[in-house]
Subunit: 431 residues, 2 copies
């Protein structure tokens, strides 16, 4: 009990910490202090946070230690992407338009985490409205590289061991890619299972809440609370999975290291007893990268109507240009794009008749050098458009010394099974 070192505590996975906290063999205050110590050390270099209140968090931790066990997240420090409203921190959404906004309420997802006992330590940097213009955050493994986006601060905060858990959102690749770049587990559940009330809207057909942690069990713990799906935490596998190795039509854009990582993961899972087969995706899948982009910007053009009409000079050039793309997509074209997506969704459900999980790249490669871009969302666009549960698992380190991982995709609505199979896979892909 008294024997914990800060270094051990900040490396604990959330689910390990949760077990100790529930047993009262670790106090919420002790864990939080270790996190705060780590933040003191790492934050000047990583710049993951845009708001943080150590005093308030410590007071909550002491209150949790003094009271009954509140729920599955009891005493776990949590970072919240600055796209979620909270009653106790400002919301900037990564934009100067909102540099003085103090919401009156918590986003529903934040309220559910707090009810379950999480301690919201602060808000983490998002790109501008969860699009492509970066904030100041740097990759915790090399500050000259991007942490990815748009959930930049959340992925970096977990990657730098400042917190065990963080909330993110994904519209294109905003959970999977930063998780891959920062070497953590990221999970985007099936579309529509976690309430988005109080989260800044970008593209209603695509925006999905998810989370970051150090293990599959961690993200299952966090997202199960927000989806009100306790069975996601069971992680029970009845038989070894049939895994579809899915290079996708964009394989040419994957770096050699990403390709090798994927092949190696397939080999390890095969050795562990999984049936691994090469998957040929249906033809309707191919246009989804473009379809995703068109749906996203058509919807963003409408969702950000106030910002582009009332504060155009406070939008980045990049965002203005993307919204101009959205403006060009008329009603009929948008309907056509949704129809193409529906066709692919129907075809993909057939792919899952033959396999339980797809194994596919998380990103083109390691985190790019430089902080001007957050990397290419290419390898997540289609899965985001399809609304399928997607999990990034760190599996190794690339030639630049930065993390690499693989992405695992399950059928729509099968989040419990997908998490369980990812948990199984994780055991056999340990770095």
């Amino acid at each position: 009990m008294s024997g914990w070192h800060d270094d051990d505590l900040v490396r604990l996975s959330a689910s390990e910490a949760a077990r100790l906290l529930q047993q009262r063999s670790l106090s919420a205050e002790r864990l939080l202090q270790a996190c705060l110590q780590q933040i003191d050390q790492r934050e000047p270099q990583v710049l993951a946070w845009c708001a943080l209140n150590a005093e308030a968090a410590l007071a909550q931790a002491r209150a949790l230690d003094a009271g009954p066990i509140t729920g599955p997240l009891h005493g776990l420090p949590l970072a919240v992407k600055d796209l979620f409203d909270t009653q106790d921190f400002p919301s900037t959404y990564g934009s100067p338009i909102y540099n003085r906004q103090q919401p009156q309420a918590d986003a529903a997802a934040v309220a559910l985490c707090r009810q379950a006992g999480a301690i919201v330590l602060g808000k983490t940097v998002t790109t501008e409205f969860a699009t492509f213009t970066p904030g100041p955050t740097r990759n915790p493994h090399n500050p000259a590289h991007t942490p990815g986006g748009s959930s930049s601060g959340s992925a970096a905060a977990v990657g730098a061991q400042m917190v065990p858990l963080a909330l993110g959102t994904q519209t294109a690749a905003s959970i999977i890619r930063p998780a891959a770049y920062c070497g953590v587990v990221g999970f985007k559940p099936s579309f529509g299972l976690i309430p988005r009330a109080g989260v800044k809207s970008l593209s209603e057909s695509l925006d999905t809440i998810g989370g970051f942690g150090r293990s599959v069990a961690d993200v299952a713990l966090l997202t199960s609370v927000m989806a009100d799906a306790p069975h996601w935490r069971e992680l029970h596998v009845s038989s070894k999975p049939r895994i579809g190795l899915c290079r996708t039509p964009n394989w040419h854009a994957a770096a050699t290291s990403s390709r090798e990582t994927l092949q190696l993961a397939a080999e390890h899972l095969r050795q562990a007893g999984a049936e691994v087969v090469d998957i040929e995706l249906p033809a309707s899948f191919t246009p989804l990268v473009e379809v995703h982009d068109l749906i996203m910007w058509a919807e963003a053009f409408k969702a950000l109507a106030f910002e582009r009409l009332c504060h155009p000079q406070l939008l980045s050039d990049n965002l203005r240009q993307r919204l101009a793309i959205g403006e060009q997509i008329d009603f009929a074209q948008n309907r056509y794009n949704h129809a193409r997506l529906a066709e692919a969704r129907s075809d993909l459900s057939l792919v899952f008749a033959d396999c339980d999980l797809l194994l596919t790249p998380s990103a083109c490669g390691e985190a790019e050098a430089g902080l001007q871009r957050t990397g290419d969302p290419l390898f997540s666009r289609a899965w985001s458009a399809l609304g399928l549960p997607s999990l990034q698992l760190p599996t190794g380190v690339g030639p630049a010394g930065l993390p690499l991982g693989v992405q695992l995709i399950g059928p729509e609505g099968s989040d419990a099974q997908t998490l369980a199979l990812c948990h199984w896979a994780e055991q056999h892909l340990k770095q």
Copy 2:
């Protein structure tokens, strides 16, 4: 030009007024002054508004008169349901929890209306979070009767001729029913076409933005701007419609006056040349009233997590009880309800192979006496769940001297055609 009387101006439909404003044969200031005069007279009895700024509106009207034509809503006064955020009025969402909340931004739909030239005169009363606990608003045709809900103030403001246009939202029956009770046209477009950014979320699978006006052309004008669908304003009919007379499995709950209104409308449309056939709905339709209720409260339980956890004592007893229903619906049951809905949606698309439009009751009958309830949403629940475009057309007056109407339903995504056919029907159902 100078010959307008206030009485004539406040009776103008929005589309008639828009034509005059675009021709500069009516000034925005003159129209607004007539509306303000009408508000002075009617508001003490109707109580439609929770915030109003005449001075700011007049300044906007003068600016519009002095400048170029801005868009299709140029100079039209608009009432906004207090579920939409605006940068210049508080948002209460009909709850004491938010009695001092001033948003920093306009909801996207409001911004789009302003861009098109609408003058937002103020905010109108909503029931508590758009659920069933009423605000103070009274029926403009008889103050002892409910105006319906949840878009109570918006429907009443148009019904009392205080404004030509108003914004509403529908999750169960919150546009169609108050429109019927207040004797105005209400239109809920297909699900997902109008951005909900900045609108308080209740049930993400169901919440839909729509509008109120005095004619089909009015609601086409208003909603086309928010959906970025200018072709909705064409109202072009190429042939006389095939209309399905749809009594629904809830026919027993319709008052005699509602039944007679529907039969009479069918007869008039048949005489006008429509092919009218009795429609037997598929068996999968029958449970939709229950399925809708379960989906709505399961989602509301999550969406209102902050409010029920942090301010339970400020929720009405009625809402607390409904949320307790939502709490009981577990993940698997919710998935099952969505599957039942998907089955009905698929079956309903076959119904539309044989007809262009369904003709069905708007509500059980005239507006109920008393202000404690907003009436039964029964006749809109299924259509809301299915996400179909739905329009309420006033057609007459019932035995209590209050308005009656009929509801017209089109296939998913066929909003342009549905509006055009409703416009055709309107010509033959003139009161």
